[in-house]
Symmetry: C2
Subunit: 433 residues, 2 copies
C-alpha cells in the first residue's frame, strides 16, 4: 500500500472549489472574448535557455528545471509573460496585429511555502501588442473594469500612474540615473511605510530630493488635481500627460471614472514597464493587495526578435482574487453542484428516470440520477452534501400515470402527481428561473 | 538574440485552434455538469512513487521524471486515472459517494514523435465511483451519447461488450488462465486483421479454441441476436447478461438504441477492466478509431486504500476527436474571433467608441475596438483576418447625430445613419440572432 500523499506546496482542487474556479474562469473568458481578445496556449515545458535567457537570472532557483530523456535542458513555465514573448516571436506571421490575446493557465515556482504560497498556481494575463496608443491603454483599463463588474465585485479602485511622467520628474531633479533604485523603494511604500521609504530615499539621493519624491507620490483629492500637480512637478504638459487627459476624458464620458484613481505612488517596481502602470484594490478587502496589475511596455520580445513590439497588458491574481472574494462573503460551501436529483427507488424504472433526465437537461436543468436503489435516507444525505435544491420522486404509481413528485429539498415540501410539463414549471419556480 | 524554438513533440495553440478547443471543452463541461458530474483538479507534479508504484513499470521510460530542489523524486502526470485514484483515496471523507467526477487536463508522455504523437496533450475523463449498478453503467453511456450529440456529431456508434460474459465463455472452454494473452490479441483485431489474430490465437490455445473465439467475437445482425449468441456460448443467462438486457431495455425506451452496438470483439486489452467495456466510432470518420473508450472496473484505488471502490468511466480522446471533426468538415479557419469591430477613424471619439462597445457587449454582442487611428484598408485587413462579420463606422458626423453606420463585412453593404438601438437590431440580423 502506498500513502496517497501530495507534494509540499501542491494541493488537490475539490469539487466545490473547482466549480467556483471554473465559474470565475468562464466569466473572465466570456468578458475577454466580448472585447475581441483571443485565447492562446503554449507548452508547459520549454528549453531552459528560451525561458531564462542565456545567463539565467534571479528567478533560477525557483524554476522547475531538469534534463529530459533526450538530454535537453528543459524547464516548466514560471509565468505567462516569457512564453508569450516567445510565442509572438515564433508565430508573428500568423497573428493579427494589434494582437489582443488572453491566457489563463497554471505556472510553477519552487516558492517558500511557509509564506502560504503555493508552488502550482494559475495566472491570467491579457495584452494588446503592436501599438502604443491611448485606445489600447483604455481598452485594457475598461476590460479590467468590466471583468470585476461581471464577477460581481461592486466596489473597487484601479490605481494608475505614468512611468513616463515620473521619469520626467526625476530628470528635473537631475537624478534619472537612480531610477531603478528609486522605483524599487517607492514600490515598497505600502509594505515598509512612508518613514522608512523616506529614510532610504534620503540615503540614495539626499534629504531634499527624498522630500520632493514623497511629495510627488502623494495623491491630491481628485484625479484632475493630482494630474495638475505631477504635470507641474515634471516640468509641464507633454505627450505623457496628454495621454492621461485623453484616458480621463474617455472614462468620464462613460461615467466610470469613479473607479479610477490617479496614484503617483504606483510604480510596479519592475524596470520592464515604460508607460502607464496600474494596480487594483477591492474596497471591501484592501488587505489582500492588488488583485490585478499591469502596465505598458516598450518591447515585449526583444530577447527573441528584432521586431519592436510595444504593448500594454495586465494580470489578474487568481488565487488572491478568490481569497478576497471569499473574505467579502462568497463561500464554496454555498455552491450547488446540481439543480435536481432523481431518487432511485425502483431499478425497473431506470429507462423512465433516464427519460426524465434527458427532458430536464433539454430544459436547461441539470439532473443527477442516483446510481443505486438504496434507502431514501442515504439518497437524501447525498443530495444534501451536493447542495442539490430539488428532488424528484417517481415510483411505479407515478410511472403508470406519467407523473412525478417534485420535492423542495430546502423546505421539504412535496408537490405530487405533476405531469412532466407541470413538474418542469414547478422545478423552475423553485430554482427561481 | 535567442531563437524562439519549441521542444520536439510540443506545439503552440494559435487563436482559432484554441478558440475551437475551448468551445469543445465548454460543451463537454456543460454536458457533464448537466448530469450532476463535478469537476476536480490534481497537481501536475506528484511523487514518482505515487504515480508509478513502488517498482515502476513499463510506462517508466515515457514519464517526465526528475529530482526537485528538495531532492524529491517527482514526475509529471502521464494520465488522469492514477492521479484520480490517489485523489479519491486522499479525500474520501470529503467526497459524496457515489462520486461522479470529470477532469479535463493536460498530461505529458515522452512518446515517439515520429508516429505523429505529441508529448503534451489533453485527456478528458469521467467516472462514477463507489457502486456497481446498471444505473451507473447506463449513465456513462447516455452521457457519452449526449456529449457527442451536443458537440454536433450526428452519426456514431458506441460498441459495447462485457468482459464478464467473455470470462464465462473462456471458462466453458477451460482456458481462463490464458485470459490476458487472449484479450491482448482480440484487442488487436482491427489493427492486424482476423487471419493474423486467428493464427496467433491458435498458437496459444489450439486451432479449435481459436475458431470458437473468432466465432464468439463476431457480431450478429442485431444487438439482441448477438446477445443471444454470446449468452448461449457463455453457458446461459447470469447476472452479467441480465445487466446487458437491462441496459438495452433502457436504451430502447429512450429511443436511442440505434447508436449502440453489442460488439463482443471489444475487449479494451487492459486487465484493469472487469465488466462492461466500450469504444466509440464516428460513422463518417471511422479511420480515426475510437474517440471515446472506457468500461467498468472492480477497484479504482487498491494501490492506496483498503476501501474497495468499484467504478465505471470513460475517456474522450480530445486530439483524436478534434482531428475527426476536422475531417468531417469543421475547420478552424471558419471560426470567427469576434462579432463586431468598431473602426477607429477619429481618436477624439475614443469615449464614444468605448460607449458603443459597452452597449454591444451588454446586448451579448462581442466587440473589438481597433487600437489605432489608421487607414481604413489596414483596419479592414485586420477584421478579415479575425473573420469578423460586422463593422461599425463612426466619425464626427455620426457622433454629433448620435448615429452609427453598420457594415456587413461579407457583402460590403452599408447601413447608414442608424440610431444605436437600430444599429443593434441590424447587427443582430446580420449575425442571425
Amino acid at each position: 500500500m502506498i500513502e496517497p500523499k501530495i507534494l509540499k506546496g501542491f494541493r488537490d482542487s475539490l469539487p466545490a472549489e473547482e466549480t467556483e474556479k471554473k465559474r470565475l474562469f468562464s466569466i473572465l473568458e466570456r468578458t475577454f472574448t466580448s472585447f475581441g481578445f483571443v485565447p492562446i496556449d503554449t507548452p508547459v515545458l520549454e528549453y531552459t535557455e528560451v525561458l531564462l535567457g542565456k545567463g539565467g537570472g534571479e528567478t533560477d532557483k525557483q524554476v522547475y528545471r531538469f534534463t529530459d530523456n533526450g538530454k535537453r535542458d528543459i524547464s516548466m513555465r514560471f509565468d505567462l509573460t516569457v512564453p508569450f514573448a516567445r510565442f509572438v516571436s515564433a508565430n508573428l506571421d500568423k497573428l493579427t496585429v494589434p494582437f489582443k490575446r488572453f491566457h489563463i493557465a497554471k505556472v510553477w515556482r519552487g516558492e517558500n511555502t511557509q509564506k502560504g504560497r503555493y508552488r502550482e498556481f494559475y495566472q491570467c494575463d491579457f495584452d494588446i501588442v503592436g501599438v502604443d496608443t491611448a485606445a489600447a491603454d483604455l481598452e485594457i483599463l475598461t476590460m479590467i473594469y468590466t471583468s470585476l463588474k461581471n464577477i460581481g465585485v461592486e466596489n473597487f479602485k484601479i490605481h494608475l500612474s505614468s512611468r513616463l511622467v515620473f521619469n520626467r520628474f526625476l530628470e528635473t531633479l537631475g537624478i534619472k540615473d537612480k531610477l531603478v533604485d528609486i522605483l524599487r523603494l517607492v514600490d515598497k511604500l505600502a509594505k515598509i511605510g512612508k518613514d522608512e521609504v523616506s529614510r532610504q530615499l534620503a540615503e540614495i539621493t539626499g534629504d531634499e530630493n527624498a522630500a520632493k519624491i514623497l511629495d510627488y507620490i502623494s495623491m491630491e483629492d481628485t484625479f484632475d488635481r493630482t494630474l495638475e500637480k505631477i504635470t507641474s512637478l515634471a516640468g509641464g504638459e507633454a505627450e505623457d500627460t496628454a495621454r492621461l487627459h485623453t484616458l480621463k476624458a474617455a472614462l468620464d464620458s462613460n461615467g466610470i471614472s469613479d473607479c479610477f484613481v490617479l496614484d503617483p505612488s504606483i510604480t510596479r517596481g519592475l524596470d520592464y514597464y515604460t508607460g502607464l502602470v496600474y494596480e487594483t484594490f477591492l474596497d471591501d478587502a484592501p488587505e489582500f493587495g492588488s488583485v490585478c496589475s499591469g502596465g505598458r511596455y516598450n518591447d515585449l520580445a526583444s530577447l527573441y526578435t528584432k521586431t519592436k513590439l510595444p504593448g500594454v497588458g495586465a494580470s489578474i491574481g487568481i488565487d488572491r482574487l478568490i481569497s478576497a472574494l471569499e473574505a467579502i462573503g462568497r463561500k464554496n460551501s454555498d455552491v450547488s453542484l446540481c439543480d435536481t436529483i432523481i431518487f432511485n427507488i425502483d431499478e425497473s424504472l431506470l429507462g423512465y428516470y433516464t427519460k426524465i433526465g434527458f427532458l430536464l437537461r433539454e430544459n436547461g436543468i441539470s439532473c443527477d440520477i442516483y446510481s443505486e436503489t438504496k434507502k431514501l435516507n442515504k439518497q437524501f444525505g447525498y443530495a444534501e452534501k451536493k447542495n442539490i435544491p430539488v428532488g424528484i420522486i417517481c415510483g411505479s404509481e407515478e410511472f403508470q400515470s406519467g407523473t412525478i413528485t417534485v420535492k423542495n429539498l430546502a423546505t421539504r415540501e412535496n408537490f405530487e402527481k405533476l405531469t412532466l410539463e407541470e413538474g418542469i414549471e414547478k422545478i423552475k419556480s423553485i430554482l427561481k428561473r
